[in-house]
């Protein structure tokens, strides 16, 4: 029989908690983009229509501005930002090119079903310099997608439409099941947007991209229902530590 001096009590396990998986993904993306040379900036979640729409070339007639798509607050004086792009507008107004900003945070749209929530998260980036072009944008997007999904993922660029970029693209990755899945939107910054921010569009051009964090996290972690992120279920949260 062993002697008393040999006894080691069980290890006292102090269980760590965890950062929310959405913030983990957001921080991972922002950190990675900071490593690429972007500077992280923040902005308010309650925005004016001017910053959320007008400055971004989203006309009064654009469907996104309707009451059924956007949350208006305080007697229609403000909106809950529908994307993080207004942060970039504020960034461009506060500085001069060349510039490279990244911003992430909560955004709001008037949706609530199995695949859409009224609140979700985005990370968006913008780079403005002389001679920035679509081929540069593709390089950056490849870098970002490979960071998240690895080097051997198949990527497809498709033409799309965003009022603040022209040309605009959406990017898909090929799933293991052989299905193309949309993961982000991007494009060359519309010269109108640059001019709105006092940037000479004849001298400077820009690229911009935006990712929905929930969508990326769902694809990355294999989560089927977007609502799982916000039930605050401990059995869910403790799988991300």
């Amino acid at each position: 029989m062993s002697q008393k001096k040999d006894i080691l009590p069980p290890k006292i396990v102090h269980n760590f908690g965890a950062e929310h998986p959405i913030n983990q993904m957001k921080d991972f993306l922002i950190g990675s983009l900071e490593n690429m040379g972007f500077k992280s900036i923040d902005g308010p979640e309650i925005e004016t229509e001017q910053f959320n729409f007008d400055m971004l070339n989203i006309k009064k007639s654009h469907p996104a501005r309707q009451m059924h798509d956007t949350f208006y607050v305080n007697k229609k004086s403000h909106v809950l930002r529908t994307h993080t792009s207004p942060v970039q507008i504020r960034g461009m107004l506060d500085s001069t090119p060349p510039l490279a900003f990244i911003s992430g945070g909560k955004v709001y749209r008037k949706d609530d079903d199995a695949t859409h929530l009224p609140m979700f998260h985005q990370v968006e980036g913008i780079y403005v310099d002389e001679d920035v072009n679509f081929a540069n944008l593709k390089f950056l997007i490849f870098e970002i997608v490979n960071l998240i999904f690895g080097d051997d993922v198949d990527i497809r660029f498709r033409p799309s439409y965003f009022p603040f970029t022209e040309p605009s693209a959406e990017v898909d990755i090929l799933s293991k099941e052989g299905k193309w899945l949309e993961i982000l939107g991007c494009g060359i910054v519309n010269p109108v947007v640059l001019e709105n921010c006092g940037i000479d569009s004849n001298k400077f051009s820009g690229l911009a991209f935006g990712l929905g964090i929930e969508r990326i996290a769902m694809l990355k972690f294999g989560i089927k229902d977007i609502r799982d992120f916000y039930k605050s279920n401990l059995d869910f949260l403790n799988q991300f530590k």
Partner: protein, 636 residues
């Protein structure tokens, strides 16, 4: 928008197969699904209203194929008729044409192309003129509306009404019109058509209608926008007018309409009335190949640029391109660059490396990160809640168009949502709940926005034998934060169990801290637990079925096997076993015996776990344990 493959391919000389057409549509930016192996369900982007038709899609596909877009049209001369039309809304409708048609007989059967439209897309037939109108909209993208001639009395007025009104749609739905609306009115000033959205019941055609007035208009999209949703009307016409239509297509569209009518029955009379105030439409874009290549990072030849854009309907005139009347979305060189990028294919543009060297990267650790680290190290989980609440605490910001009455305001603190998180997990048998949330909160006061940290905790301190029997207190939470905030500065808010209808006796610690600026932290965290690598998680869907806990205590006389017993049980595998840990440990030196207790948690993913399943697993565990010499289970 649904378009049948067969309706497209009959216009394409080379008859490409469905998968090839699908690939080309993706290259053009027309994302779609294929339904039943024969119908493209295309998600047309809001700027491409011109593609909401068979002809619109074919115009884009001309980039790749030789396409016949010369459908037969009615080529006889059209007499004008004296129509009493008043346009009091010229700024919203600059071009409108009315066609008066009388037919001899109502056709009993449709020609194959018209019949296929209904069959292939599952569209329900209504009556002859409405069916032709629907088909014309599908083929050309231009909605038309047919009024029963005898209900019109040679008079129509287009006007903007600002007062509330009632309107019965052709589907016999009563709509209460509010706000500013563009409407067609009859002689009695009764609304007969909600312009661009849906016609009225009174003048709707039926299966006996032989004489109609067909209206073909160009409406200002802003005047139509959002109305169909507002009045809960499902309208294909509104969808098209909102996205803009071709302002000068009316002659073609109506002649095509007439041709289809003529192919089915004898037209006994046809007359036309037009009210057109459209000026010069031409949109000319100065073109420089070098600038396009600069935007795209490509080296496309000028002749290729001209060829591609010409195929898409643009006219090259003296170093400029004139856009076709249906392309409202093309106004600048960047727009033309996108057309060219679509033409060669986005995937054919080779990526180009670049680096950004603008900012010096500083490794900063702010208070938020430091607090987050301290909490995570002590077993706290971060949660994120949406900001909508049902109540206003006085300075809450109201949502003008909430999703429902439970989400009418923005929260001004995090308490109510964190309490909900606590209750949710207590109901799921969690006995140690430690949550925190960082969020901006807003109010109507001058401060407007503040950044806050909310912390809520209740139950056991931790899942180890030292902490299992300890309960969370305010002191416990204060100790965790002590490196950043002194206990006296923490304002714990009492939350009674009665106030949240809870029978638990566990104390609830709740504290909210305003994160004003950096400077709380006495020292920088050394080992940041915030992950910068998100690649290693193996997620399993969470079961909503109840858990079953079993505790098992052992008396160990042979101290040498203690570690082996612990290793065996902590690594025991069973498909229902979700968690196992040591919750009790006591070294009884006088008896030279160690008591060690393990808690096992079982849960089934597909139903409520049965006692039999748990007993089976526990019997395996007991057998394994008792196989060790000197291990006993007291009472067994």
């Amino acid at each position: 928008m649904k378009i049948a493959y067969s309706h497209i391919v009959r216009h394409i000389k080379s008859s490409p197969d469905l998968s090839e057409v699908s690939e080309k549509l993706f290259q053009l930016g027309h994302e779609h699904e294929i339904l039943n192996g024969s119908v493209f369900d295309i998600e047309i982007t809001p700027n491409r209203g011109d593609c909401l038709s068979v002809n619109g899609i074919l115009r884009d596909l001309r980039l790749f194929y030789e396409i016949n877009l010369d459908d037969e049209i009615y080529d006889k001369e059209l007499k004008n008729f004296d129509f009493n039309f008043t346009n009091n809304a010229k700024q919203h409708c600059k071009n409108i044409t009315f066609l008066k048609i009388d037919i001899k007989d109502i056709p009993k059967n449709y020609n194959s192309y018209l019949n296929d439209y209904f069959l292939d897309l599952g569209v329900t037939k209504k009556n002859f003129f409405t069916d032709v109108s629907n088909y014309i909209s599908y083929e050309t993208g231009q909605p038309t509306h047919c009024y029963k001639l005898d209900q019109i009395d040679n008079y129509i007025k287009l006007d903007v009404i600002k007062e509330d009104a009632e309107f019965f749609t052709l589907l016999d739905e009563k709509v209460k019109l509010t706000g500013e609306n563009l409407v067609f009115l009859d002689k009695n000033n009764e609304i007969i058509n909600l312009a661009g959205i849906m016609g009225g019941k009174k003048s709707a055609c039926d299966d006996r209608t032989k004489s109609v007035i067909v209206e073909c208009a160009y409406f200002d999209p802003e005047m139509i926008l959002g109305k169909a949703v507002k009045f809960n009307l499902n309208s294909d016409a509104a969808h098209k007018f909102e996205r803009n239509t071709d302002p000068i297509c009316h002659n073609y569209v109506l002649r095509r309409f007439l041709k289809i009518v003529e192919q089915h029955t004898e037209i006994t009379n046809v007359e036309v009335f037009t009210d057109n105030s459209i000026d010069e439409l031409s949109n000319k874009i100065s073109f420089e190949t070098s600038k396009v290549n600069q935007i795209l990072g490509t080296n496309i030849d000028e002749n290729d640029c001209i060829q591609y854009l010409t195929k898409l309907g643009f006219k090259y005139v003296e170093d400029s391109f004139i856009t076709p009347s249906y392309r409202h979305d093309v106004k600048t060189l960047n727009d033309l660059s996108e057309e060219l990028a679509r033409s060669i294919g986005y995937d054919q543009i080779k990526d180009k490396n670049f680096t950004i060297n603008l900012y010096e990267k500083k490794q900063t650790v702010n208070d938020e990160l430091a607090l987050k680290e301290a909490l995570i190290k002590n077993g706290f989980y971060e949660v994120i809640n949406d900001p909508f609440v049902s109540f206003n605490e006085g300075s809450g910001i109201s949502v003008d168009n909430p999703l429902d009455s439970k989400r009418k305001y923005l929260r001004t603190d995090l308490k109510s949502t964190l309490i909900q998180n606590l209750i949710y997990n207590e109901r799921r048998q969690q006995d140690s709940i430690k949550f925190f949330e960082f969020s901006d909160v807003y109010n109507t006061k001058k401060s407007f926005k503040k950044r806050v940290l909310g912390i809520i905790a209740s139950g056991r301190v931790d899942k180890n034998f030292k902490d299992f029997s300890k309960k969370i207190t305010n002191k416990y939470v204060a100790n965790i934060l002590s490196d950043y905030i002194s206990e006296t500065d923490l304002n714990f808010i009492p939350i009674s169990r009665e106030s949240i209808n809870s029978k638990s006796k566990n104390h609830i610690s709740y504290v909210e801290i305003e994160v004003i600026s950096n400077g709380l932290s006495k020292h920088e965290p050394k080992n940041l637990v915030i992950k910068n690598n998100i690649h290693n998680y193996k997620y399993n869907p969470v079961s909503d079925f109840p858990k079953s806990h079993r505790d098992l205590s052992f008396a160990v006389k042979d101290f040498a096997i203690l570690a082996k017993l612990e290793e065996t049980l902590l690594n025991f595998e069973n498909k229902f076993l979700k968690d196992v840990f040591v919750f009790d440990y006591y070294n009884n030196t006088s008896k030279e015996e160690i008591k060690i207790g393990f808690r096992f948690t079982f849960q089934c993913d597909t139903g409520t776990i049965t006692d039999e399943d748990v007993d089976l697993a526990m019997n395996q565990i007991i057998k394994l344990s008792l196989d060790f010499n000197g291990v006993q289970i007291p009472g067994m």
